[in-house]
Structures are given as structure tokens and as C-alpha cells.
């Protein structure tokens, strides 16, 4: 999809013109300015994350790649919850709301549904989206509202100073779990696919190219897109993703997902993904299998069990980590369908206030 197409897509929908008052306000400024630079997305607010925090890297990556999307700043809204990561909107020269803990997907849903002309983003943390806000996340995903969710996963509660989170590994020793955490973590990608997500991707904070690539696809996706971004919290969970970041071990354990390409990875392509005997997927040694057995990645597969199986490869060995776009399928979006219902209702009925005030049964008292 070219960038110009995308601008059109985010422009005023012709099928369901937004209401007069809004349209008037929104259109007063004439032509949208979309030829922007990274600095145009910066604000005058001092960025207040700890030095070295992965959040900086993500912010820079987003600010650098956004201009290429061709979205006018005023047409973009970033809604966040609470957490270190949720400070994100303050640093972006777009519209933004730093809301309350866990509720950003619900706020974004109301906004995206009533303003399909906007590009609505959610920035959230692993605690924000998977603990207190878990309900809103899964429902946003299943509804397929047109929003893009960036889940900064540092596997820890950063803002509250280091308690374990729903993505922390079992046995995590933190201030609230001095003898190690007991509960089993969520795999956010598996959870999202189980919640009927139409787009699910995963990227690494420090991998500018990979991150940008997934973000672009997420932004262009029509419907709810979830991107899990591994983010280093160098204060409370430093090095959580070092295994994947290290040049040697990184290639060994990360599985790059490229649509249409065979799933081969590791040094010299020594490992690959094949089907197992139970309809799932498993890791094999490339030289031990026939080339035809190697799975060719298909992110557009309708049936989500394939993407789910990909997300479960880590159950074979926790370190195996597919990175990239797991799933990207087209499905009608909630906001469009609602707009269509409104169009149908408008075509079939009338908006005559007097008619509904009177209702079906009236009587008249004469003087």
C-alpha cells in the first residue's frame, strides 16, 4: 500500500460523513499537512524516563517512521493508560490522552468508533494491558475496532518500582515476591490470537528496522492491531531480552517471521519450523528434514491456529522467540460496520425529532 493510499484511507469517510459540528471544526484549516519530519512529532515536554530505558528507543523509532505514513499530526490520537510506558503521548505532537490504568483500549474504542476519520493508537504496558486492563484488551481485539495497540512489555511493573507482572517468568524474585513469583505468565501474542485478533506482531525495542517494519504493517492494518514490543527496563528488569539482543545468541533463538518465506533461522539457517504430528509446529534441525517439510510463513491465513502454534513454539524451549508479524488478516472493522448500520438506518428511517417525540400512540386535547 502506498502512503498516499493510506492518507485517503484515514481521510473523511465518504459513506458516513461525520456530523456537521465536528466536520466544521475539523475542516477549518484547509489542506492537511502530511509532509513532516521526525522533529515535527516531538513536543517541548522533557522526556522523563530513566536514562537508558528502552522506552526512549521506541519513542525515537516511532517519531522517525511516522512521517512516512503520511498521517497529519492532527489526525492522530495516542491514548495510553498508566505506567512508565504510558507517558508516551506527552512526547508526541499529536492529540493524546494519558488516561487511567488499563482503560486505554476502551477510551480508544469510543473515539475510533465515533471518529473513523482519525488514526487512533494505544500505548500500554504489560501490567496496564494484561493485568488491570485485560478485559478491555481482549474485547478490543475481538471487536476489531480500527486501533493500533503498542504493548511495551518489560515483564515488570516499572512505574510502581519493580513488582512482577503478568508476563514475568515463574519464580521471578521482586519486592512483592521475595521467594519467587508463583503464577504462570501470559504470552501476549497467544492471548491476542486467542482473542480473535486480526493483526498480531512482535518486535524488539533496539531493532529499529524490525520494529519499524512491524509498526508500519500494524498502522496500515484495518482493524485492531496488537504489537508486542520487548522493552528493556534497565532499572527493575535489566537484560530481560539480552539473550535475543546478543548478536550470537540472538540469531540462535529469534525466529524471523517473513510472509512467504520458509521459517529457517539460527546460525547458517541450522534450525527450521516444521509441522508436528499433532497439527502444531515444532523446531527441527534443517539438515534433518526435507526442504518441503519446512513451513512457509503465511501471515494471512484465515484460521488462527497456525499463528497460535507459532506463538507456542516457545513452549518447546522458552528461548525460541518468533519476531515479526504472526497474523494479519482482513475482517470487517467494528467502526465501519457501525457506520454502515447508521447509513442503513438513515436511508430507511428519518431523523425527524417531532416524529419520535410523538411516538405511535398520541391523543389530542382540544381547547
Amino acid at each position: 500500500m502506498s502512503t498516499t493510499d493510506h492518507v485517503h484511507d484515514l481521510g473523511m469517510p465518504t459513506s458516513n460523513p461525520i456530523d456537521a459540528a465536528i466536520a466544521a471544526s475539523v475542516s477549518t484549516q484547509g489542506e492537511k499537512q502530511t509532509a513532516l519530519k521526525a522533529k515535527d512529532f516531538k513536543t517541548d515536554q522533557e522526556v522523563r524516563w530513566c536514562p537508558g530505558c528502552g522506552d526512549y528507543v521506541i519513542l525515537n523509532a516511532v517519531q522517525s517512521f511516522l512521517p512516512s505514513l503520511g498521517i497529519a499530526r492532527e489526525d492522530m490520537v495516542i491514548v495510553s493508560g498508566i505506567g512508565c510506558s504510558s507517558r508516551f503521548p506527552y512526547y508526541m505532537n499529536t492529540y493524546g490522552m494519558h488516561s487511567i490504568h488499563g482503560r486505554a483500549p476502551a477510551i480508544a474504542t469510543g473515539l475510533a468508533v465515533s471518529r473513523p476519520d482519525l488514526s487512533v493508537w494505544v500505548v500500554t504496558g504489560d501490567g496496564d494491558s494484561l493485568s488491570i486492563g485485560g478485559n478491555h484488551l481482549i474485547h478490543a481485539l475481538r471487536r476489531n475496532v480500527n486501533i493500533t495497540i503498542l504493548l511495551f512489555n518489560n515483564r515488570i511493573y516499572g512505574l510502581t518500582k519493580g513488582q512482577y507482572s503478568p508476563t514475568s517468568e515463574v519464580g521471578k524474585v521482586t519486592k512483592s515476591t521475595p521467594m519467587g513469583s508463583l503464577d504462570h505468565p501470559f504470552n501476549p501474542v497467544s492471548l491476542a490470537i486467542g482473542a480473535e485478533a486480526t493483526f498480531v506482531g512482535r518486535a524488539m525495542d533496539s531493532d529499529r528496522k524490525g520494529l519499524t517494519d512491524v509498526l508500519r504493517q500494524a498502522a496500515e492494518h484495518q482493524g485492531t492491531a496488537l504489537v508486542e514490543i520487548y522493552q528493556n527496563c534497565n532499572i527493575f528488569n535489566d537484560g530481560a531480552f539480552d539473550l535475543l539482543k546478543d548478536p550470537t545468541t540472538g540469531t540462535q533463538w529469534s525466529i524471523p517471521l517473513v510472509h512467504g518465506e520458509p521459517l529457517v533461522f539460527g546460525p547458517d539457517g541450522a534450525a527450521c519450523v516444521v509441522r508436528d504430528d499433532f497439527g502444531g509446529l515444532r523446531i527441527a534441525e534443517t539438515n534433518q528434514v526435507d526442504a518441503s517439510q519446512i513451513v512457509v510463513h503465511d501471515a494471512h491465513r484465515e484460521d488462527s491456529s497456525y499463528a497460535y502454534a507459532l506463538s507456542r513454539l516457545s513452549s518447546q524451549d522458552l528461548r525460541y522467540t518468533p519476531m515479526g508479524v504472526f497474523r494479519s488478516v482482513q475482517k470487517a472493522t467494528y467502526d465501519r460496520m457501525m457506520a454502515e448500520q447508521l447509513d442503513v438506518a438513515a436511508a430507511q428511517g428519518s431523523d425527524d425529532l417531532d416524529a419520535i417525540l410523538g411516538g405511535n400512540d398520541t391523543w389530542t386535547v382540544s381547547a
Binding site: 499530526r73 492532527e74 493524546g96 490522552m97 494519558h98 468508533v113 419520535i356 417525540l357
Partner: protein, 649 residues
Amino acid sequence: MTATDPAVTAGSSAPGGFVKSVVELDRVVIRLAGDSGDGMQLTGNRFTSETASFGNDLSTLPNFPAEIRAPTGTLPGVSSFQLHFADHDIMTPGDAPDVLVAMNPAALKANLADLPGGGLLIVDSDEFTPRNLAKVGYAANPLEDGSLESWQTVSVPLTSMTLDALADSGLGKKEAERSKNMFTLGLLSWMYHRPTEGTVRFLERQFRRKPEIAAANIAAFRAGYNYGETTEAFAVSYEIKPAPMAPGKYRNISGNQALSLGLVAAAKRSGLPLFLGAYPITPASDILHELSKHKAFGIRTFQAEDEIAGIASAIGASFGGALGVTTTSGPGVSLKSEALALAIMTELPLIVVDVQRGGPSTGLPTKTEQSDLLQAMFGRNGEAPLAVIAPRSPGDCFDAAIEAARIAITYRTPVMLLSDGYLANGAEPWAVPAAEDLPDLTGTVDFATEPNGEDGEFLPYLRDPETLARPWAIPGTAGMQHRIGGLEKADRTGNISYDPENHDFMTRTRQAKIDGIAASIGPTDVDDPTGDAKVAVIGWGSTYGPIGAGVRRVRRSGRQVAQIHLRHLNPFPADLGEVLARYDRVICPEMNLGQLALLLRAKYLVDVQSHTQVRGLPFRAAELAAVIQDVIDSTSGAPLAADPTGGGE
């Protein structure tokens, strides 16, 4: 009949040959009671519609269990519908029924105590089987053991007569039996000279897709009517003349309907698109249902995953330039409180409708109460003021919704609209307003499109000096990008601020903004016809009807009392303190344990006398009249020419 001087006005010859007389009454209270499966609410609503179109004034009180279908024939499964109609204007559904229709032993047992001696009791004798009697603990059949002697009891085999009437309908016994409510409605329609065409049309419409069911119900309805006309069991029918009403077009309306239409009207009259985010909850769900029907008005209704998402989505929509609304009942307000505070902090327009029910916790889902006032006022962390208003009658829910929108949009604030279960489900005739006569709210909407700062920047917290409202700049407007949120905002810029002076200033400013709403609401509405009452009775919300009826009785007894009823609970009208100070005594009846009284005492140092009940039902007018009368008499002694009864409404 308790009505005054029933006058035999006419006689008519029944087909059977004997003469039936017609008695004229000024008002009647009928209560229909049956099993929840007997369709009593539907029957009541139909009788109400017939009565409304006949031109009586009326007021209704549906009363049903929280369970969809409690076990058949048991006391918890009893559902009832009370209707008060009259040839003059009335304010309540009536303290006690004049007529009780009991469709089974459980309905009789649950309701008989409310029927005054001498009242008319109609029972379906077919249902008084040993098994049904045993279910509710009747050792003997009350229809036979003489225990109903104090009432005019007419036992009618309603079920078997319905079956007879439908013998040729082709319906099975079970299905045919279900039309007995329509047979009963037919009988009552004859007794009270109700027009019948509306019900026939209604049944045709309702069962469009099942013509045989429509035909059976209409046949049963007609059979009931004809039975009344021919039977010797009922020798009298009653006439209640239409009530004089101001000329105009009327309809019958429930509180939830009126509230929904008020929201539609507010959207239309402000030019803002309406967005409703809601999670189903009794007794508020009907607002979600009603608004969902009006998509042609561009109304978006969103059934959220929970109460929090309901309000959160509405806040998101408001940020985007919609009129965001969320509707719920008390337990839902509890869940919404954190998001409510976000709306207070971000200063966005928002309407929160709380259709109050019995609490705490799940409480009494289908019963009425007004015990969420303090929750509405204070149920949030921090100093978190918002506007609170309440409707006084079912029809008034319409005006209250428009007023809520006016305040929310003008002042960029959440407004809590406190309806309750009684208003929501109760109905009354409503003078249909013309759309063009409704308040024009377009002036309240002024989206900011130009930077307001000296250096050409946009300052999202630079306020309107008069209303203290901040500018509403919506996404999509170029050059106005800004960030809002729940962290304390710096004055003018809206940047995050932890500055002590700023927090103190912003806290006081948010309060001042809400207090300032008083400037737009006019003085306290005091009803003190002679101007020399020493006692005032003050209320809010749905107690308006019972208090008003009580006040009428007191005045008819020759005593003076002032009635004050508050639409605005936060802020109060500016002169309320002065008004209260004029009276020696102030009584405040509430369906809670004294919440408004607490606020009035705290704010005005007035020795308000609280009179409370939380029975899940509205006050009785007679009870309130007695309370008011006692206070008056203990203040200034009984008047010389007091009529101790005070009469009816």
C-alpha cells in the same frame, strides 16, 4: 371504592335482560397481580395506554421480581402493576388499591394486605387448586373459608373461560391459557369503559409474524369484554371522566423512554452526535434499548464489555467531539468512579445517568430507592466535584436529560443525572413538545479552532472567564494538538504539574467551575401559595409526586405548607440557604437514610428534619401528609377548621 360520592348516572340494559348501572367515580386505583409468567406488566401497560388515550390523568407503579421466572405460583414469583387514574390531575400511583385482581393464590397472599376493607377483589378461581394453595401455605381455600368476607370478592373462572373462548382457535391448552391476561384486560376494559381499538391494534402489531396468536389474544380480549357486559357477577360499571388538561398533543411515557428521547433531543438541538457506552443493568437497560433504535439520528450505541468500558468509551467519544453518555445503576456507578474522575480532570462533557435502585451491593435490582445521592456527590478520590441533577416525574426525565446536556457541554464537565426505578418504569401522560420549542443548545458548542495563547500556541486549560470552561479542541483540528490526562494539569498549558500552588489553585478552580453553574439555573422553585407557611417540605427526584399529593392533603385540611423540590443538587440554587431560613421548620422526605438532609444541614446549618423509608417503594401520600401535619401542628397548633382526613388526592 374510596372515591367521593359515587353517583349512579345511567343504566344500560345488558343483553341478558337485567339492567346494569353505571357509577361515576373521580379516581380509581387498580392493582393487577399474578405470576411473573402471567403477563401482568403487559396487561398493565395496555390498560394504561387505553386509559391515557381516553384522557384520564394517570400514574403507574410496576413492581416485579428480579428473577426472570421465579418458580411458578410462588410468592417470590408475584409480579404486579398498579395504576391510578382520575378525572383530575394526580401525582402518585395511589397509596392503596381500590381494586385488586389476583390471578392466583400467591398473588392474593402477597397483595391482600394492601387492599382496604370493602375493596373490590377479583380472583381467577381456576387457579385456586389444592396444589397452588399448598405452594403458598394456604391450609384452606380462602375463596371458601369465609376469610375474604371483608372485601367484595368476585371469583371468576378466568382460565377456563379463556379456554372456552379459544376452543376453536386450534391452539393447544397451554398456549390458549396464556391469553387469560387478555381476557382479564377485556373484562376490566368493560368495567371502566376503556376504548378497545388501541389494544386490538397493538396485538396485531405485536404478533405480526404469528397471526394465530394475535387472533387468539384478540378473541380472548373480546370474550372478556363481552363477559363483563353479560354476566350477572358484575352489575356495575364505572365511568371516570377525562381529566381537564391543557390543550395539545399527549402521549403516555415512562421515565426511561422520556430520558432516552431527551438525550436524542439534546443531540439534535446541540448538533453533536450522541455516543452511548453502556453495560446492561436493571433498571437502566431500557435506555440502551431505546437509543439503539434511533440510529437514523446518527446515534451510536456501544454495548461495552463492562461498566468501566461503558464510561471510558463515552469519554473517548467526548474527546472526539461527541456528546458522550453512559447509563447505569448504582453498582455500575461504583465501577465508573475512577473514570468519572478522569472526566473531571480532563474537563470533558459527559452525561452519566444513574437509574437508582435499592442498594448496597446488588441490593434490590427491580425496586426503587434514592440512596446514591452522596455517591454522586462524593464517591470519588480527591476533591472531585461534578454537577448533579434529578428529574421529578417520568415525563420530566425528558427535560432533565436536556438540562444535563446543557450543563455538560457549557461547562465541559460530567453531569450525574439521578433517575430511579420508580421514574424509570412508571408512566404518565406527557404533553408532547414541538422540537422547535426545545432549548437551542447550539450556542453551547464552540469547538476551539484557533490558538488562544499570546505566542500563537494553544492553551487547553486557558478558561472562559465566565463559565471557567476550558476550550474543547477536537482531534482533526490542525495546530491544536494537545495532550490531556489524569495527572494534575498546569493552569493554562495543561502540562503535567506537581507544583503545590498550582494544585491548590486547580482544585479550587474545578470546584469554582461547578459552583458557578448556579448562575445559570435561576432561583429556588418554591410553591407557597399563601406565602405565610411556617413549615416547608423539601425533596428531590421521584418523591415529587408523593410529597406533592401529601402537601395537597395538608392544604385541604386548612394548613399552610411550602413545597420546595430541587432539580439541581450540585450546585444548589444560589438562594436556597436564604429560602430555607424563611421557614421555622423544614422537613425532608427521602427514600434513603437522609442524604439530602445531611447536605442541607452541612451547607446551610438548617435544622432539617429527615423523614425516611427504604422499602423499595415510593412514599404513600397519606403517610407524608400525616408527617407534615404533625410538624405543622407542633409548630403552630392545629388550625380551627381542620378537616382531619384531608381527603383524597
